[in-house]
């Protein structure tokens, strides 16, 4: 088979499932929005009220979903931003501080204020762990209500303030309903666009595989701040609409129960899904209406639902309606790398570059993990790094990829100094890596996992992705093609649309290599890629690694399988107790006395 037909194949493969996936993914959205369109024909004002409320809640939840469901940040106090938006809109529209402005302008202003405070509420997430962050958002929720109560001159204190009224045609119950449903539909599109862009994939990567996300060049603070801006703005707009629906607001209207409703809607819906939380929001809004005698127990019901979901159905509604998860997989499938496909992914690097470590020393307390290490990885060569357990192999990889900062020494890349630390910048320097235990996003498909590796190549902005502008589409298409080429070359293209948590261990190892290749690395660090592979697979892995280095990429290979090392390496360094015990060609090492006695055995 020629390399031409190889290159053409990936595209043909992705078309079909992508299109099916698109229709399949859109179908569930059609039902609630079709219902929303026919509802006005009922002419029942009570239904208008309930449906409007559901639409408003969804405006908030659609933004919060990216924070909770995608980024995995447990923000349980989002009622704070709803309150803020409600008061900002009401106060600006009523004009009791500044001259009154039109309600729709006040709503937009509230969105801007919400964007700012969304970041303020979210900032602790950049430093704090899960429970701490949950507590911090809870604290915000309490404080905002107390301020609303105390700041009587502006908010009317406990007496309250009237909500904004919107101009015709939005002044009747059904007119207002259509406004809210329209905004809700817009928010659905925007959040879905973000979710299906490189930003959405990066968010899930932060949630499930933070270390791998960093190595792929994803900078968590920047990404989270963008999402907090988005979620904060939507929450505040929802607040403005909520104030109008209530017609009159007091701090009592913003109970913590609302926060719980928003939060639980997302978890009941399922993490990492858009349709699930949408259905969850509708369900939780309707629940107390259908079960009127249970109205006072509604919070109890929400909480019980949450407990059941967490313990019994971790995938939520989205997991239940996703049929792809249950499709049978071929049980005797094989990983069959096609190194020829590498050509359409990796640029051929011809100039010689090297990654060097000079006199690196790193201590953990009294342990000298690396003790004056010199190492030079050349482009286009496979450099083996072997040694007994605890000799500092993985630690060396972690120093190169920026997770550890050594106390002494220096690193250079192509002659220029390579700074210590800052793992998220390594991808930009052309350094990619895999991990000893595969770091993956189990809930995402294989191709999505691989596309995470290409995040660094994206140029479109968050706003472009949110509005799904043409440049975003072109980039997504190119990224998907690259990912297919990567999967094709490592030999798991047939599994592209399978959820990663269903893969076998050996397949995950190849998937990690595919993800690393997406960054088109000049240097690839592999941490025990052959661990857990069958002898056949190890041979194919060896061919793949050789082919990668033939493209001009320098490979640093940490491995315990001596056969693999001696078969494919151009140069081998043997570590012992953090120091170089020996180095040279495989032939030299094989007969080196100390290496044989310390490590290889003989």
């Amino acid at each position: 088979m020629t390399s031409m037909s190889r290159a053409a194949r990936p595209e043909a493969v992705i078309r079909a499932p992508a299109k099916q996936g698109m229709i399949g993914a859109l179908l569930p959205f059609v039902v609630p929005f079709a219902l929303a369109l026919v509802l006005p024909f009922s002419a029942n004002d009570y239904w208008a009220l309930i449906a409007t409320r559901a639409a408003i809640y969804w405006v908030l939840v659609s933004g919060l979903n990216l924070v909770v469901g995608f980024a995995g940040q447990l923000a349980i106090g989002y009622v704070a931003l709803l309150t803020l938006g409600a008061y900002t809109t009401s106060v600006l529209a009523a004009g009791n501080v500044l001259p009154p402005i039109p309600s729709l302008a006040a709503l937009l202003a509230a969105g801007a204020v919400g964007a700012v405070f969304g970041v303020v509420v979210g900032l602790p997430a950049l430093r704090l762990r899960t429970f701490y962050f949950a507590m911090a958002t809870l604290g915000f929720a309490t404080i905002v209500t107390q301020i609303a109560l105390a700041w009587q001159g502006v908010t009317g204190g406990g007496i309250g303030i009237s909500g904004p009224t919107f101009p015709a045609p939005f002044d009747s119950p059904w007119g207002f309903y259509s406004l809210c449903v329209g905004i809700a539909a817009l928010c659905t599109c925007m959040s879905a666009n973000v979710a299906h862009s490189r930003f959405g994939r990066a968010l899930i990567a932060i949630r499930d595989a933070e270390v791998a996300a960093e190595a792929s060049g994803i900078f968590k603070p920047r990404l989270l701040i963008l999402v907090f801006i988005f979620a904060g703005a939507l929450a505040a707009v929802a607040g403005g609409l909520f104030a109008s629906l209530q017609t009159y607001i007091t701090p009592d209207a913003f109970t913590f129960d609302l926060s719980i409703l928003f939060f639980i809607s997302i978890l009941i819906g399922g993490r990492g899904s858009i349709i699930g939380p949408l259905l969850g929001t509708i369900l939780l809004t309707l629940l107390p209406e259908f079960a009127a005698p249970l109205a006072s127990w509604s919070t109890f019901l929400y909480a019980a639902l949450l407990l059941v979901i967490v313990l019994a159905v971790p995938g939520g509604i989205a997991g239940l309606i996703d049929t792809r998860r249950r499709e049978r997989l071929d049980s005797d499938r094989k990983v069959q790398p096609h190194p020829a496909a590498l050509g359409c992914l990796l640029p051929t690097i011809r100039e010689d570059r090297s990654l060097t470590l000079e006199n690196i020393a790193l201590t953990f307390g009294a342990v000298r993990a690396i003790d004056g290490l010199d190492l030079a990885v050349e482009s286009g060569r496979v450099h083996g790094l072997i040694g007994p357990n605890g000799s500092g192999k993985t630690t060396t990889l972690n120093v190169i990829s920026g997770y550890y900062t050594p106390q002494q020494g220096r690193m250079t890349l192509a002659g220029a100094p390579l700074p210590f630390g800052r793992p998220h910048l390594r991808s930009e320097f052309g350094i990619a890596r895999t991990f000893q235990t595969p770091r993956l996003v189990g809930e995402a498909t294989v191709i999505e996992n691989v596309m995470i590796g290409g995040t660094i190549n994206g140029r479109t902005t968050f706003a472009e992705a949110m509005l799904s502008l043409p440049r975003h589409w072109r980039e997504e298409k190119a990224l998907a093609q690259d990912a297919h080429a990567a999967l094709e070359s490592v030999g798991i293209a047939s599994l592209a649309h399978v959820h990663a948590d269903r893969l076998q261990h050996s397949e995950l190892r190849f998937m990690e290599i595919a993800r690393a290749l997406m960054a088109r690395p000049a240097f690839l660090l592999l941490d025990e890629p052959a661990a857990g592979l069958s002898p056949d697979e190890i041979v194919r892995l060896g061919q793949l690694i050789t082919a990668i280095s033939d493209q001009g990429t320098g490979v640093l290979l940490v491995e315990h399988h001596a056969d693999l090392i001696f078969d494919i390496c151009d140069h081998v360094t043997v570590l012992n107790l953090g120091k170089v015990l020996a180095e040279g060609t495989p032939a030299d090492i094989r007969v080196h006395k100390e290496v044989v006695s310390a490590y290889l055995g003989g």
Binding site: I76, R127, A134, M135, T142, I143, A150
Partner: protein, 285 residues
């Protein structure tokens, strides 16, 4: 005035510290921060009022009953919200499962007990003014609990087993320690400590369902500032928090006092995420 600020500050601070110790006790054997800690404190007050005011039992009978009741709630927490989560891969789910359980406890209390604060009787009827029992009782209880826990952890075999599990769960199990039973026991103990907090602080906080989330938050502040798992740190931070809160309350008024407490909490945590007396983070790669 200063004396009454100090008295009420130390008293509320001691209640916060006790809730912090409740958090720590549950955390030690399970690595789980449970939202139910504050609810246990709230239940201590509600049980006390129920047994003494409604049922008319003497305090010497009501106290053990309240301790038993909260210990039972602690064990239920372990069964429903902690054990299933420890089995699953995503350990962070404990935030959600314990939150769910805490909300359920609070809602049941609100419906069965009522949403109005109800009175808590005088226990010993000793002291008046700033030396009133409602001020010194929480402080004394807090000191007593810390001393008892120190004795338990340092001098008894069971206590040492607790520490072994907290230090290294796998090694402790390899040694044959009954990890699961010890975890249940620590949840029962945490329940009892929470009950003591609510009981001792009952005259100050009353028997009120909304104390739950309040105590969950203010009890967590000492844990966060004092360092996770550090009881002495929690006590110091708790008392400091109480004094700071009461002083701010007096100087700038109630609303801005909570804003001040919250700001200090956030700023300190952002500056030192491990707490002022806590240990460094584990390795990630």
């Amino acid at each position: 005035m200063l004396a009454s600020i100090i008295a009420s500050g130390l008293a509320t601070g001691a209640v916060y510290a006790l809730i912090g110790i409740t958090y720590n006790t549950m955390f030690a054997t399970s690595r789980v921060m449970s939202f139910t800690a504050g609810q246990l404190g709230m239940l201590g007050g509600v049980f006390g009022s129920l047994f003494m005011v409604v049922w008319g039992l003497p305090s010497l009978v009501a106290l053990p009953l309240a301790l038993l009741g909260c210990a039972a709630v602690g064990v239920v927490t372990e069964f429903l919200a902690v054990r299933p989560v420890l089995k699953s891969l995503d350990k962070h789910l404990y935030v959600l499962s314990t939150l769910a359980l805490a909300l359920m406890i609070q809602q049941v209390t609100a419906i069965k007990w009522g949403t109005e604060p109800r009175p808590f009787p005088r226990l010993l009827d000793i002291g008046s003014g700033v030396l009133d029992e409602k001020f010194w009782l929480p402080v004394a209880t807090c000191l007593l609990v810390i001393a008892a826990l120190e004795y338990l952890y340092r001098r008894t075999l069971v206590g040492r087993a607790f520490i072994a599990i907290a230090e290294d769960n796998f090694a402790a199990r390899a040694l044959g320690l009954p990890e699961r039973d010890l975890r249940i026991a620590s949840y029962a103990l945490a329940g009892a400590i929470g009950a003591l907090a609510g009981f001792a602080g009952g005259e100050l906080l009353l028997a009120f369902f909304a104390n739950g989330p309040l105590l969950s938050f203010y009890g967590f502040v000492p844990v966060a500032l004092g360092g996770l798992g550090n009881n002495r740190g929690a006590a110091i931070a708790g008392l400091a928090l109480g004094l700071f809160q009461q002083a701010a309350n007096f100087l700038v008024g109630g609303v801005f006092a909570s804003v001040a407490v919250f700001s200090v909490f956030i700023v300190v945590l952002l500056a030192a995420p491990q707490g002022l007396l806590g240990a460094a983070a584990a390795r990630r790669v």
